[in-house]
């Protein structure tokens, strides 16, 4: 694994508020290959989430280039970026970001429905994924009726329902107790290993980072130390 580059940052910088503004990301370069997992660590305000937003095409770099599967996304139109998120990228957030009026099944199938896939087919695939994350019996429940860990696993299922090459997870265990957090990390790890989905995990928790193959540290928008984790060494 690791031969095909899934995500590559080349000297990427991001400045908010014009020339004299805040440099949230400063000349960052890294890449991860197919099936690899990378944890980005750093204190609050270090620029971790900005890197994730740039990777997802939710934000554009001030300088440098970002390649997803070898394609430079820095100058893509909004429509092309949206298309990229539909097919190549899945996202998981700290606050789950499930739509409160939709059931677990509807939440998971939403990305497919937005792509115009029929309700029947979307729900069939979503059902499968809910089984994989261990929530088959919760398919008809609303987010309010589920625990934090369950919600996050629904969010993970939603993120990979379109079978993306890259999963971006922003502090996925930040709002969870330890046991639920471990279950979520195990689920992500399982997807990474079983299905070859590349994972970028933003966290400030060393324990969470240890589920990834490598760790990258960001301080004040700059790249700090990079290291292989115990998992990778194994």
């Amino acid at each position: 694994m690791g031969s095909e580059s899934i995500l590559e940052f080349r000297s990427v910088s991001k400045v908010f508020g014009g020339g004299g503004g805040v440099k949230a990301v400063n000349d960052i370069t890294f890449s991860i290959g197919k099936g690899e997992s990378l944890a980005i660590m750093g204190p609050s305000g270090s620029g971790k989430s900005t890197i994730l937003n740039l990777a997802a095409g939710l934000d554009t770099p001030t300088s440098g280039s970002i390649l997803v599967r070898g394609k430079d996304i820095s100058n893509l139109s909004d429509r092309e970026l949206t298309g990229l998120r539909r097919t190549e990228i899945g996202m998981v957030f700290q606050t789950f970001n499930l739509l409160p009026t939709l059931t677990a099944l509807e939440n998971v199938s939403l990305p497919l429905r937005l792509q115009g896939i029929s309700q029947k087919e979307s729900e069939r695939r979503s059902d499968e994924l809910l089984g994989i994350v261990g929530l088959s019996e919760r398919r008809s429940h609303l987010p309010d009726e589920m625990s934090g860990g369950e919600r996050q696993r629904v969010a993970i299922a939603r993120a990979i329902v379109a079978n993306p090459a890259l999963l971006l997870a922003d502090e996925p265990t930040g709002n969870l107790d330890t046991a639920s957090g471990i279950k979520v990390l195990e689920t992500i790890s399982h997807l990474n290993e079983e299905y070859g989905t590349s994972v970028v995990l933003v966290t400030h928790d060393r324990g969470a980072a240890s589920y990834c193959g490598s760790v990258m540290t960001i301080v004040d928008g700059r790249l700090g130390a990079s290291a292989e984790t115990a998992r990778e060494r194994q």
Partner: protein, 851 residues
């Protein structure tokens, strides 16, 4: 503290400019409608009063007997009455020039010193070269300078006028500068000697009016009392200003309708304010927590929101008064048209009169409505738990909207209002009956969350199937904020229910009229003197009627005089008909009484027929004896029949024309009803009638079908305001929708960003917003339909009966509803355009971390 709170408020307005502007505009529209109605009715009333005042000149008392006039012998009776200092007679006619310009001709006793009428023709402003010739030659006429200049008339010019007595030629022998009444008609005033005028117009021995002034020995009221004793009951004696007021009361029914419209517009404004403040409180939850943590007491928070509402109310109301002024110009035109078409009352009102009291009242009502609308949200803010608010957690009870108590109150209110409508009598009065109607509306408002909830349940699978995930999410968004949605749906519901109930009223009225036209107004041709239902100024002569009757192909011509008289203190319509002809032609005309059986007695002048609404209003039944007051004395006759008839909303009395001529001394007529001979060439017949009356005066000849269309057209004209109401209602609904959708987008930044992050295109997000707006409008249409149905039932069963005494068959305005649905949906889609753009342009990365 107040300064600090004011600062917070100012920043809020600055930060949410669109919401602030929409709220102000919402109030402005409500106040504009209210002010327009007040200003237009006030202006019309003032115009009537001003007209009568100017016509009266210096007179303290006026004596008159409707359009027929009365015997001039009563002039001596009046002059001999103690307390009367001066009494001067007057005649009035309207003529038309060849170019179609109307000219009011006033006949005055030019041999007198015209002390009372000096305001019409002030001595110093009159120029008559040969006064003796002016009096002696019966064709002499003095015209205003303006009229003379406009028509290029010089001394001794010939002026041809079409009058009810045919085309007449006059010689201009004097000029005057118009003041007083002359000003009212744009200077189109002429003066003749009253006796020449009687001669020329065939009204020998008749006068229209006596103007008089009292001496110092008696008060005006005492003199009126004495005159009433000496004159027959059909001749009325009153102060001039009372005449103006009486004229204005003819429009009471229309004004009630307008009053309701302004009330509804204010109610809708209230919903808009509620909506804005409800959302404002939601958005400022954290700010409320901070203020409370900084020591602002609960009442301070409440006062902040109510103060904001009062200020926005003030701004909105001031704008509303300005807008209302322009709206009033249109309303005055409609009222003037209605007044002229249906009552024959021509008003000279032009621009709205600005009564400061009305303006202040409108502003106060606007502020009150705004504060009232903000009351509940302000209370919610005041009761917020500061700790939870600091964490920006709303401590509201989501299930509260479906509170069983609220539902029970709603059901009770609707069913109570309906029960009262069904069982109560009109005798309770309009005010109480409006209460039933309001109970129904209030019940519907209480039930709105249930409607929204049920509609969302119903719409979700449908929208999901038709529009995919965007449709489903749109319905979810609508159902998730029931209060916000309810406020918008409420605004739409009230507006549409009013439109639908008015539409039902129009359709029902048309159906009733159509039935009446078939049963009792079923001549083959109608020859009329005016393009209005009733004209007080143009009438036909019998001579002309005879000529029409002799046209080839005419089997029978019936003459009809349409006038009015006072009965029970109200002005009722009086129809003097050739009864034999009418009841032969329309054997099924009567609802109660047999037309065949009473035809002979009616023709012999032995009885009256009355309309259903007359019978209902005055408690008269078949066989009762009623007394009519005429200039020739009282006439008491038996009621021989009752029929459905819609000439007047007060009531209509029918009598034989011979009896009318005998007591009113008036042989003019307004309609000639033609029955064509069997096999007559209809086209030739119509041409023959037109030829027989050509060049005489204005005449309109309609076939039965044309007449029906013409009457229906007048109904549409009468209810023209309904279409204005529809536009206003939908416009306010649209405004409310824009407000709601902007707020919805602002509240759901995060959710919309999630959609974008999950791969939703901008267009999909925009589509979702438009669909949400359409879904809300759909619920608005649905509830508006239900409320409109209930209101229509209420309107037809109580208001129409109370105001007009008409019992109308119920017709639901399906065509109007079908027209309203695409219109409302289109407005909803357009209203969502800006919010949708805003939603589509959201910064996704920022939205994902939005609280």
């Amino acid at each position: 503290m107040l300064g600090g709170l004011a600062l917070v408020t100012r920043r809020q307005w600055k930060g949410h400019r669109l919401r602030t502007v929409l709220t102000v505009f919402g109030i402005a529209i409500g106040v504009a409608t209210y002010f327009a109605v007040q200003a237009s009715t006030f202006t019309i009333a003032r115009a009537f009063e001003k007209t009568t005042e100017k016509i009266a000149g210096k007179a303290e008392i006026q004596i008159f007997a409707g359009e027929s006039g009365f015997d001039e012998k009563y002039l001596d009776t009046v002059r001999d009455t103690p307390g009367v200092a001066i009494a001067e007679p007057a005649l009035e006619m309207v003529g038309k020039t060849e170019s179609g310009e109307s000219l009011l001709i006033i006949g005055l006793d030019t041999t007198s010193d015209l002390e009372l009428h000096s305001e019409i023709v002030p001595e110093q402003l009159v120029s008559i070269d040969d006064p003796l010739k002016f009096i002696n030659e019966s064709d002499s006429i003095a015209v205003s300078r303006e009229f003379a200049d406009r028509n290029r008339l010089a001394e001794n010019s010939v002026l041809r006028l079409r009058t009810q007595s045919g085309t007449k030629e006059f010689t201009v022998r004097g000029f005057f500068k118009p003041v007083g009444v002359g000003e009212l008609f744009g200077g189109n005033v002429a003066v003749m000697d009253i006796y020449s005028m009687q001669d020329v117009f065939g009204r020998e021995g008749l006068i229209d009016r006596i103007d008089l002034k009292t001496d110092d020995s008696a008060s005006v009221e005492e003199t009126i009392g004495l005159l009433r004793q000496k004159l027959p009951a059909g001749i009325e004696t009153s102060r001039p200003e009372q005449r103006g007021k009486a004229m204005a009361t003819a429009l009471a029914g229309v004004e009630t309708g307008l009053g309701l419209m302004s009330f509804l517009a204010l109610a809708i404004s209230l919903f808009i304010v509620f909506n804005s403040f409800y959302v404002s409180v939601s958005q400022r939850w954290k700010e409320i927590g901070v203020l409370r943590a900084l020591g602002v007491p609960r009442f301070g928070v409440q006062a902040m929101f109510l103060g904001e509402a009062a200020l926005l109310g003030l701004f909105g109301s001031v704008i509303g008064v300005i807008l209302g002024y322009f709206l009033a110009i249109g309303a005055i035109r409609v009222l003037s048209t209605v007044s002229a078409a249906s009552y024959g009352l021509v008003t000279t009102a032009d621009l709205p009169s600005l009564d400061p009291q009305n303006a202040v009242m409108a502003i106060l009502i606007g502020i009150a409505a705004s504060v009232f609308g903000a009351l509940l949200p302000a209370r919610r803010a005041a009761l917020a738990d500061p700790a939870a608010a600091l964490r920006n957690i709303e401590t509201r009870d989501r299930g509260k909207e479906l509170n069983p108590l609220r539902i029970a109150a709603g059901v009770l209110s609707v069913s109570g209002g309906l029960a009262f409508t069904l069982f109560a009598t009109p005798a309770v009065g309009t005010f109480v009956q409006v209460g039933y109607w309001m109970a129904i509306l209030l019940g519907m408002v209480l039930l709105l969350p249930v409607f929204v909830y049920a509609s969302a349940k119903m719409l979700r699978p449908l929208m999901n199937r038709v529009f995919g995930a965007e449709g489903m999410l749109a319905v979810d968004a609508m159902a998730r904020a029931p209060k916000r949605t309810t406020a918008t749906v409420g605004a739409l519901m009230i507006g549409l229910s009013f439109v639908i109930s008015n539409g039902a009223l129009i359709d029902s009225q048309k159906a009733a009229l159509s039935r009446s036209l078939d049963r009792s107004v079923n001549a083959d041709y109608f020859v009329t003197n005016s393009d209005q239902i009733r004209s007080r100024t143009y009438h036909f002569s019998e001579d002309l009627a005879d000529r029409v009757a002799s046209v080839e192909g005419v089997a029978r011509a019936e003459n009809l005089r349409v006038t009015s008289l006072k009965y029970g203190g109200r002005e009722v319509a009086l129809l003097a008909h050739d009864m034999d002809g009418w009841l032969t032609r329309s054997p099924d005309a009567l609802d109660r009484g047999d037309a065949r059986a009473v035809r002979e007695r009616m023709s012999a002048g032995e009885g009256f027929l009355v309309s259903e609404n007359f019978a209902l209003r005055f408690g008269v039944d078949l066989g009762d004896r009623i007394t009519l007051e005429s200039p020739g004395g009282n006439i008491t006759r038996e009621v021989l029949g009752v029929l459905e008839y819609y000439q007047s909303e007060v009531g209509t009395v029918f009598l034989d024309r011979k009896l009318y001529k005998q007591y009113w001394g008036d042989d003019t007529l307004d309609y000639i009803l033609i029955t064509a001979a069997d096999g007559a060439d209809r086209r030739a017949l119509k041409a023959g009638i037109e030829k027989a009356v050509a060049g005489e005066q204005q005449v309109f000849v309609y076939s039965h079908e044309e007449y029906r269309n013409w009457v229906m057209g007048l109904i549409d004209q009468f209810f023209g305001l309904n279409y204005v109401q529809m536009v206003i209602a939908i416009m306010i609904g649209g405004l409310s929708l824009i407000n709601t959708m902007v707020i919805s987008v602002s509240e759901r930044k995060r959710e919309l960003s999630i959609l974008r992050a999950l791969g939703g295109f901008r267009s999909q997000v925009g589509k979702m917003i438009v669909l949400e707006s359409i879904a809300i409008s759909f619920v608005g249409i649905l509830t508006g339909f239900v409320a409109g149905l209930l209101n229509a039932y209420c309107t037809l069963n109580i208001s129409v009966v109370a105001v007009a005494g008409f019992r109308l068959p119920f017709r639901f305005p399906f065509a109007l509803l079908l027209a309203a649905i695409p219109l409302v949906v289109a407005v909803a889609a357009i209203s969502a355009w800006y919010p949708a753009r805003k939603a589509a342009a959201l910064n996704v990365a920022e939205g994902l971390v939005h609280e």
